[in-house]
Amino acid sequence: MNAIQYDVMTALPEILVLCMAMFILLLDLFLKPSNRFLIYVLSQLTLLGAAVLTTVTHVPAVGYAFSGLFVDDPLADVLKLGVYLSTAVTLVYTRQYTALRGMFRGEFYALVLFSTLGMMIMISGQHFLTLYMGLELLSLCLYALVALDRDNANSTEAAMKYFVLGALASGMLLYGMSMLYGVTGSLNVSGVADALLSGAPDHGVLVLGLVFIVAGLAFKLGAAPFQMWVPDVYHGAPTAITMFIGSATKIAAFAMVIRLLVQAMFVLAVDWQGMLVIMAIMSMIVGNIAAIAQTNIKRMLAYSTISHIGFLLLGFLSASLNGYASATFYILSYVLMTLAGFGIILLLSRKGFEADRLEDLKGLNQRSPWYAFMMLIVMFSMAGIPPTLGFYAKFTVLQSALQAGFVALVVFAVLMALIGAFYYLRVVKYMYFDEPEDHSPIVAPVDMKLVLSINAIGLLILGMLPQRLMDVCAYAIIHSIQ
């Protein structure tokens, strides 16, 4: 490792986001409600600025800061850019939705920016404490966001569940970390890795710690059997928040898996591989099969997330750079698909009406052929039908798992994807072959329509020309993991 000692400059994007989040919180106090649009613009500019800073300070090498608490490597940069993009798109899609429901307030944007900061810290965490701090910053903001519509009983219930179970998961994670600390005497990712490499003292205790860490991570990702919160929170939270939880935060959780399992505990790969296999199988079963019985799109997408996480875990199984690159590709693809999918739901929602039942999509083709087509692309992509991005994402993770020799698992995964195709295609059937129950016009700001269209068409184009994105993922992994 070429450890170059960076100074504060390394964390410049984080510092910018932090300052702007606080500034927005303050500014909101002095702003007339009619001028709230300014806050929206400032938030978007913050994300843009952070993206520029991340890009400008990018070097194809690993750099540490704050005495090794913080790392800036190409993987962090790529994932952070993914987070900015996904958050920015979320803000575009949710502006009208939040405005119509009285959530278009400073808190919303401040909380979103603080969550973004939490995710950035998770992505760049090189120390168990940094990672934990980022995770908690994110989680606490998310609990508040879920309950933002505080008069809504569903939302508060969801927030409560999320909080309690999240606390439990955090506790498990901390417990696991403490076990690891006990054995290795280090909290630093590279320190732990070095200690493990020089001969693991007590394998039993290590595995004990590992199980708890994996459980904590699995909770964040939403992998079975730690997925119980996902459907309830997705369903209960306002759609705008669901979209946020379902997209950007998964990138951060993914980064944490890389930092903890791949970088810190690579020596224990044989053990965590086994755990991931079990969780991947369970996630694919639960995700794909339970989704069939859902009548609510948000719930259906919750199960869809669980099954996608199952596929994502397959990428880790090969414990090879190629596999991690395909997992990175998968998570970014997943985020793009999720954004577009929730985007359509938000597009169809209006004041006093949540378009979150499957029936609400009936006859969409007659109401708006263009957006029906967009949703068709999203559903095809989620189901993994070529030539969409989802196909290529599934293809690469399956290929990496196949190379690692998990033939039976791959066959099983393909079967599960086949079962999953049913509920995605059912949406298509509703849109194209059923009569609409609701004929109200679709009203949305131009920027949202534009971004949504680009988002969905992007799934198609990236699916046909995936090489560039694949190259980026491979580059990020190769230059970050030794």
Binding site: V164, G204, V211, P225, F226, D232, A291, I292, I419
Partner: protein, 689 residues
């Protein structure tokens, strides 16, 4: 050089862009823009092809990837171009004929409601064909191969309201499926055994596998190269309509005449010939495969010619003549005279496109009546069509100095010189074929352009007969009207008082432009193409084993001398007697053919049923598949798959889904419990204390 390279990608792309614009926005754009846009695209492709051709004449060869589509398991799947003289020749021929057909179509499809759709299709075809010939690897070849097949399918069924057209395009599709299956197997074997799909890599490694044996069925051994070559050739048999996969081509005449000229005569059907010539380094490794090619070609050349004799539909005569000429090209391939095959491909593209477009012009003049028995004496009314058709026919039968003479005589001589098994039969077949060709070509010529003006007496009478005939052979497509759309129902065939008229200039100009190369190109091209080093390093011939080409060069003393010698040779005498016999039968004593038909009813019956290929396919393959399909559907699909597997699994999954849903109680302590259990499970699995 590099600026030429950047041109390559545009040559196929421009027709594609034109096709996309016209195809997608054809309804919104004014009608005339359909032909302007596509003609501009194809004309640009043609001019660029000429540039590329000039460049290739200087000896420049480009072989490289343009775009990497996919890297999988160590194999690269690329879009790449190999542009050498063979490719450049094909590009010029394809774009030139395509351009002519585009212009011609303005006149021919003038009233058709699917005007812009038609232009979009033929431009798309040009793109596909260019991708096929420019490819530098098997995958792109296969892409082009399937793409031209697709467009052919779409165009045969262009008048999709006619049941016969739908029958014909389905037939073409299914028959080509058989060929393409062989082709795909061949490509797979190349990838599997030779480890690459790139031409250059495959050709350089192939000689190492010359003696490799493979065991496909336990207990038997085959030479790898023979298997690969025959499988690839099965693809060519489908596309280039060789016996027994030829059955789709006559029916493809259901499509509009311009595409019969472009796709089913000049370009697409020659894709198989081109492919085998391109693969010459592989075919040279297997004399067995070459013999197979030779015999199939010889059968096609002779027996399909016979069928041309009894056809009454003008387009079908030309169609059978195309089949027969494709057989000639295949014979040339079989005797390792690849350059001769390409040479004949080129001359044939010009004169056969000319004949087809001429036939189309006649059909227009006759108001979409295609029955030759209703024509006659058209030379008075359609002088340009008459002269150009005469030129086309003379070229086809191999009159010395005409282009067809040089290519066809070279094939006959090559067959004569060849020593490989089957060459004796092939020589006889191509020689006899000359007589047959001359006979049916001039039978058509005399019936159409000379004799009495038969539409006056028998126009509608014959037409009704046609309809009766049509009812008998519900899916046999030789009735006269081209449109069953109600709007066009009023005019097919001339009334007793109508007169045929010469076609508009958009039709006659292509005829004239095609007539020029039909006459001259053979004279100028034979020496460099066959005996010069035109195909040096491109077409590989093992002269020791397959010496026909060498002998041919030995006997060649210049194009003029060849023509002079041709006047006294056997093929010319045969051709002349064929013409004379046609004149005698159809001009002098029209009662004789009828008498022969009555006497030799068995032969006529065999020919009329096209040797029974169609009824055999219908009774054996079609009925057999329907029977098998019915049984599989009933037992396999309905009972096993639908009843047990699909509905069974669906029920099972539905039940599991309900169960999982019930687990989602909404109670927080249940969720926490599940998490704890999860941790507990992982611990028990992985803790080994």
């Amino acid at each position: 050089m590099s600026n030429v390279q950047s041109l390559y990608i545009w040559i196929p792309l421009l027709p594609l862009i034109a096709a996309a614009i016209v195809g997608l926005f054809g309804r919104q754009l004014p009608r005339a823009s359909a032909h302007w846009i596509t003609i501009a695209g194809v004309a640009a492709a043609f001019s660029l092809s000429v540039c590329v051709f000039m460049n290739a004449l200087d000896g420049h060869v480009f072989n490289g990837a343009v775009y990497t589509w996919l890297t999988s398991g160590g194999s690269q799947f690329e879009v790449g171009f190999l542009v050498d003289r063979l490719t450049a020749t094909m590009m010029v021929v394809v774009t030139f004929v395509s351009l002519m057909v585009h212009i011609y179509t303005i006149g021919y499809m003038h009233e058709d409601p699917g005007y812009s759709r038609f232009f979009s299709y033929i431009s798309l075809f040009t793109f596909s064909m260019l991708m096929l010939v420019m490819s530098n690897n098997f995958m792109q070849l296969f892409f082009g191969w399937e793409a031209v097949g697709l467009v052919s399918y779409l165009l045969i069924g262009f008048w999709f309201k006619r049941p016969t057209a739908i029958y014909a395009n389905l037939k073409a599709f299914l028959v080509n499926r058989v060929g393409d299956f062989g082709f795909l197997l061949g490509i797979s074997m190349v990838l599997y055994y030779l480890g690459s799909l790139d031409y250059a890599a495959v050709f350089s490694i192939a000689p190492q596998f010359a003696d490799t044996k493979v065991t496909l069925i336990p207990g038997t051994e085959w030479s790898l190269m023979t298997v690969i070559c025959i499988l690839l050739f099965i693809g060519a048999m489908g596309k280039s309509a060789q016996v027994p996969l030829h059955v789709w081509l006559p029916d493809s005449m259901e499509g509009p005449t311009p595409i019969s000229a472009l796709i089913h005569a000049a370009t697409m059907v020659t894709a198989g010939i081109f492919m085998v010539a391109r693969m010459s380094p592989l075919y040279e490794l297997s004399t067995t495969a070459l013999s197979f090619v030779l015999v199939i070609g010889a059968i096609t050349a002779l027996f399909m010619g016979f069928l041309g004799i009894i056809q009454n539909d003008i387009k079908r005569v030309v169609a059978y003549s195309t089949l027969s000429q494709l057989g000639y090209m295949t014979v040339a391939l079989g005797v390792s005279a690849y350059s001769v095959a390409i040479f004949h491909l080129m001359t044939h593209a010009f004169f056969k496109a000319l004949l087809f477009l001429g036939a189309g012009s006649v059909i227009m003049g006759m108001h979409h009546d295609q029955d030759m028995r209703n024509m006659g004496a058209l030379r008075k009314y359609m002088p340009i069509t008459w002269v150009t058709s005469l030129i086309g026919s003379l070229a086809l039968i191999g009159t010395p100095l005409f282009s067809g003479f040089y290519s066809k005589d070279s094939i006959i001589e090559a067959a004569q010189f060849s020593q490989i098994p089957g060459s004796g039969f092939a020589y006889f077949a191509v020689l006899a074929g000359v007589f047959v060709t001359a006979f049916y070509s001039f039978r058509m010529y005399f019936l159409v352009f000379h004799g009495k003006e038969k539409w006056m007496q028998s126009g509608h009478h014959a037409h009704e007969q046609q309809h009766a005939h049509h009812d008998e052979h519900a899916h046999d497509a030789d009735h006269g009207d081209s449109h069953t759309d109600d709007e066009h129902e009023e005019h097919h065939g001339l009334g007793p008082h109508d007169k045929p008229h010469e076609s508009p200039w958009v039709v006659t100009i292509p005829l004239i432009l095609l007539a020029i190369p039909s006459v001259f190109i053979g004279y100028f091209a034979i020496e460099p193409m066959l005996f010069g080093n035109y195909f040096h390093d491109i077409i590989y011939v093992n002269h020791e084993a397959h010496g026909a080409m060498h002998m041919l060069a030995h006997h060649f003393h210049g194009a003029g001398a060849m023509a002079l010698h041709g006047l006294t040779s056997l093929p010319f005498i045969l051709a002349a007697s064929g013409v004379a016999l046609a004149w005698f039968f159809y001009m002098k004593r029209p009662d004789i053919p009828a008498a022969i038909q009555a006497r030799c009813s068995l032969i006529y019956y065999i020919l009329d049923n096209k040797y029974g290929f169609d009824s055999f396919n219908e009774k054996f393959f079609a009925a057999g598949s329907r029977f098998l399909g019915g049984k599989l559907w009933h037992y396999g699909d309905v009972k096993l798959i639908d009843g047990f597997l699909v509905n069974g699994t669906a029920h099972l999954i539905g039940r599991i889904a309900g169960l999982v849903r019930r687990l989602q109680t909404g109670l927080i302590y249940h969720y926490a419990f599940a998490m704890i259990i999860g941790v507990f499970l992982l611990l028990t699995f992985f803790m080994k204390i």
